[in-house]
């Protein structure tokens, strides 16, 4: 048995950058998330606690002052505040403050106990035992004990609940109470990812009594043990949270161990970012939670405001190619990308740093690997070795070698057929897609861009004339590779060169060094085959009034609200 306690979470070299928020995860995987996340998908990831750059207000040495209401703008309304009934990003953005989880991420990317004081895992990594802290209570005074934990998880595991988050629990078969302060997770197969998942606030512990009392209405009357609790939800307009008097703070990432400084936090729902900024300027709100690079550029150095940016990212934007997967055997690329030289030519045709500068206004990190820069097993060496620098001559040579010769009209041809490709992107990625289109056309592709809403994109991409696609996936754990390889279209059908086996092996390897090697090996398989062309990891940006002090993002890319205070 490997014994761990709350204070000795394992440090990881690049781990601090790994921690990211689930709601951004959702957002970034615009593709599979609800369409309401389009805007977020465009915005990229969120900032973390570490060193926000730019004109961010200087860390205040002043003592925090209690009092005041913080008003934030979010783009979309949560659909429910019952964690068993949604995986939508905006909901998770509230869960994080009203629920506590068994374990939490630390600033260095490891895990520490939150509701659990410590935990242990069996040698086969199939039995996990968590010990709860004594004397925990929900915001309404109900006890938070092993029964509540078992209730929370069994409810999600129960097929009748139809919990969309069930999949995250992976091989978890059951959760069992040993005594009032001990629960055991039984897994069907070893999992190296259980803690990653338990730290997400989809698995915040709910009050069984409240769930039973409210029934279907629980989603609007949630009861948790987090630093804040719901005071009011004005449908479509705002959600107000107030400090939870019964909350106890155990997380090392929250400096304020007492009551939050704020009297209330209001999340205003304002769909359009331009309107959010207008409201920020008129003083109606104190911060816009997620904005795009062009807005950040506008507010950099603007008196009265601060721009908070996170250089680390759990997102990866990449180009993929149409594939087909026969009933059995290897998946195949569809023409014209069945020739690796044509795929590589795409890589050489693009000026990615130029795109980052022009379209994202610099708010992204060039990343040539499938692993986001802020996730475990991101490898800077791979990022060096496998990077395509723009080289249109080289792209031309590759295409020539593949038999695509330049025609009089600037479009390459082979056997009388033009090098025509249909390029699919999410509406939110339209700007990036247009630059890619123009750069591909410069080397002789003929490109039609299709910019689509999330729902249409996901549902029709597999059966369409798509040759080339652009997508943005975000996830804080290294199994982001599994997610990418199972999306169901393009690279999501990939099963060549032993990738599924490589990923399966990495997923059950508990030893950290071995696990890292396994993920690096999997990345090499992807890059050697030019199966995708990774472009960049986007950065998250928030803009706030400079009255908001300590406005920073915690390890889960949510603002550490208990630490925030308002300057008078």
């Amino acid at each position: 048995m490997v014994k761990k306690d709350a204070s000795s979470s394992s440090p990881r070299p690049e781990g601090r950058r790994r921690a990211r928020a689930a709601w951004r995860r959702r957002a970034r995987l615009g593709v599979l998330a609800a369409a309401l996340l389009l805007v977020l998908a465009a915005c990229g990831g969120g900032p973390t606690a570490q060193a926000p750059s730019g004109s961010e207000a200087a860390p205040s040495e002043a003592a925090p002052v209690a009092g005041g209401t913080l008003t934030l703008a979010m783009t979309d309304e949560p659909d429910t505040l019952d964690p068993a009934h949604t995986v939508a990003g905006p909901s998770e953005g509230i869960f994080y403050f009203i629920y506590d989880t068994l374990v939490a991420r630390t600033a260095d990317g490891g895990f520490e106990g939150d509701l659990a004081s410590d935990w242990s895992v069996s040698d086969d990594a199939k039995t996990w035992t968590f010990h709860l802290r004594p004397g925990l209570v929900f915001s309404n005074g109900d006890p938070l004990d092993a029964d509540a934990v078992v209730f929370t998880f069994q409810r999600i595991l129960d097929p009748a609940t139809q919990a969309p988050s069930k999949g995250f629990l992976g091989p978890v078969e059951s959760v069992e109470k040993v005594d009032d302060s001990t629960v055991v997770f039984h897994l069907a197969a070893p999992s190296a990812l259980l803690l990653d998942n338990l730290a997400i606030s989809y698995f915040g512990i709910v009050d069984p009594k409240a769930v039973q009392a409210e029934g279907d209405g629980y989603g609007r009357q949630p009861v948790g043990s987090g630093p804040f609790m719901l005071k009011e939800w004005a449908t479509g307009d705002h959600i107000t949270l107030v400090p939870n008097p019964n909350h106890k703070e155990f997380r090392s990432t929250v400096a304020n161990k007492g009551r939050p400084y704020l009297d209330a936090v209001v999340f205003r729902i304002i769909p359009q970012v331009e309107t959010q900024l207008a409201a920020l300027e008129s003083g109606e709100i104190d911060a816009a939670l997620s904005v795009q690079g062009d807005k950040a550029e506008l507010y950099q150095g603007k008196p009265g405001f601060q721009v908070v940016v996170n250089p680390a990212s759990i997102g990866i934007e990449y180009i993929f190619f149409a594939m087909e997967k026969p009933a059995s055997g290897e998946s195949v690329y569809k023409p014209p990308f069945d020739d690796i030289r044509v795929r590589q030519a795409v890589g050489y045709a693009l000026d990615v740093p130029g795109i980052i500068q022009a379209v994202l206004h610099g708010y992204a990190v060039r990343n040539c690997t499938p692993m986001p820069t802020g996730v475990f097993a991101y490898d800077p060496d791979l990022n060096q070795t496998y990077c395509y620098a723009q080289d249109t001559a080289k792209a031309g040579e590759l295409l020539d070698a593949a038999g695509w010769t330049l025609g009089a009209d600037g479009v390459r041809q082979k056997d009388g057929k033009p090098l025509h490709v249909e390029f699919w992107a999410l509406d939110a990625d339209k700007d990036v897609a247009q630059v890619i289109q123009s750069q591909l056309q410069a080397v002789g592709f003929q490109v039609d861009v299709k910019a689509l809403d999330v729902a249409t994109y996901v549902s029709t991409i597999g059966t369409s004339g798509m040759n080339l696609g652009l997508v943005n996936v975000g996830w804080s754990a290294p199994n982001i590779l599994d997610i990418m390889a199972t999306l169901g279209f393009g690279f999501g059908l990939y099963n060549r060169n032993g990738l599924p086996e490589a990923l399966a092996k990495a997923g059950v390897t508990v030893d950290e060094a071995a696990r890292r090697d396994a993920y690096v090996a999997a990345q090499k398989i992807i890059l050697d085959d030019a199966a995708i062309i990774p472009l960049y990891s986007p950065e998250g940006i928030s803009i706030a009034s400079d009255k908001v002090m300590n406005f920073k993002f915690g390890p889960d890319s949510h603002i550490t609200l208990p630490d925030v205070w308002l300057k008078r």
């Binding site: 389009l38 970012v273 331009e274 900024l277 795009q292 062009d294 807005k295 550029e297 506008l298 130029g354 500068q357 022009a358 379209v359 509406d427 339209k430 700007d431 897609a433 247009q434 630059v435 289109q437 123009s438 039609d448 861009v449 299709k450 910019a451 689509l452 809403d453 249409t456 029709t460």
Partner: protein, 278 residues
């Protein structure tokens, strides 16, 4: 009006540049020498895009209004002239379509067909059909009982012939007037659909899409949403003047009719569809 049509006709000579050519280093330049309407976020020349988009935007709106006008007129003629159960059936169909708010109808159609300028125009066209149908039906009812129609009828002319020869010409002027007004609505409808994420596909320089995409930059590059907006306003003005002119020139009777019977609501509906979809 002439300006708009001339621009459409001679676009390649007025602004010979490539409307999709990107110069990332010159992004978001304000209007000035070299770029009379500034550049967009890709460094594309806004003036070139507007000028070259004229043909596309006006053409697409024409197509949409043509769809609405042709089908709407046909339905209205048949329904108004034949009356009886045909009329009842057509009127229920029209009621049905009118019961959807215009934008919602177009939104649904585009969602089914997929985005793209052609589909958007088809959707806007379909959404405009009931307005024309109702207008033409009202006009037809008024014409049906006039002497020359009755005379033709008693002379034993077939219904088809009477409608084409006698009714249609009398209805046509009203249709033309409303169509010019609907053109403006059609351009705006593209803008609204683009705003809701269902517009022309990039990098097509359609005015509506340019406007919707440009509003993101309203804070730092006012010219991006404003210039295509101006182009739309000028065209709408042109179409309106044309419409008023047509109205006065073609049929002085119209104004009397509108003020005194249900034709007024018909005209409003025709006009309203355009606006409604916008």
């Amino acid at each position: 009006m002439a300006l708009v049509l001339l621009t459409a006709a001679f676009a390649p000579w007025i602004a010979p540049g490539d409307p999709t050519a990107m110069h990332l280093a010159e992004a978001l330049r304000p209007p000035g020498p070299g770029h009379p309407a500034g550049t967009d976020n890709f460094g594309r020349d806004v003036f070139t895009r507007i000028v070259q988009g004229t043909r596309l935007s006006i053409g697409a709106s024409l197509a949409a209004v043509a769809i609405a006008g042709v089908f709407g007129t046909a339905l209205g003629l048949v329904s108004g002239y034949l009356g009886g159960w045909v009329d009842l059936l057509v009127q229920r169909l029209v009621d049905l379509m009118l019961a959807f708010p215009g934008l919602l109808l177009a939104l649904g159609i585009v969602a089914v067909l997929g985005p793209g300028l052609a589909n958007v125009m088809l959707a806007v066209g379909i959404a405009g059909v009931p307005g024309f149908a109702r207008l033409v039906r009202g006009e037809t009812l008024a014409v049906r009982s006039r002497e020359f129609v009755l005379a033709a009828k008693s002379a034993g002319a077939p219904a088809f012939r009477i409608v084409l020869r006698h009714v249609l010409p009398n209805v046509a002027s009203r249709v033309a007037v409303v169509a010019t007004l609907a053109l403006a609505g059609a351009i705006l409808a593209t803008a609204s659909l683009s705003y809701l994420g269902l517009g022309a596909q990039p990098p097509t320089p359609a005015w509506g899409t340019m406007l919707a995409d440009g509003q993101k930059y309203i804070f730092q590059a006012w010219w991006l949403p404003t210039m295509p907006g101006l182009a739309i306003a000028v065209s709408v003005l042109g179409f309106n003047i044309l419409g008023d002119g047509l109205q006065d020139a073609l049929d002085p009777r119209i104004r009397r009719l509108r003020a005194t019977d249900g034709g007024g609501s018909g005209e409003r509906r025709g006009d309203g569809r355009g606006r409604g979809a916008a």
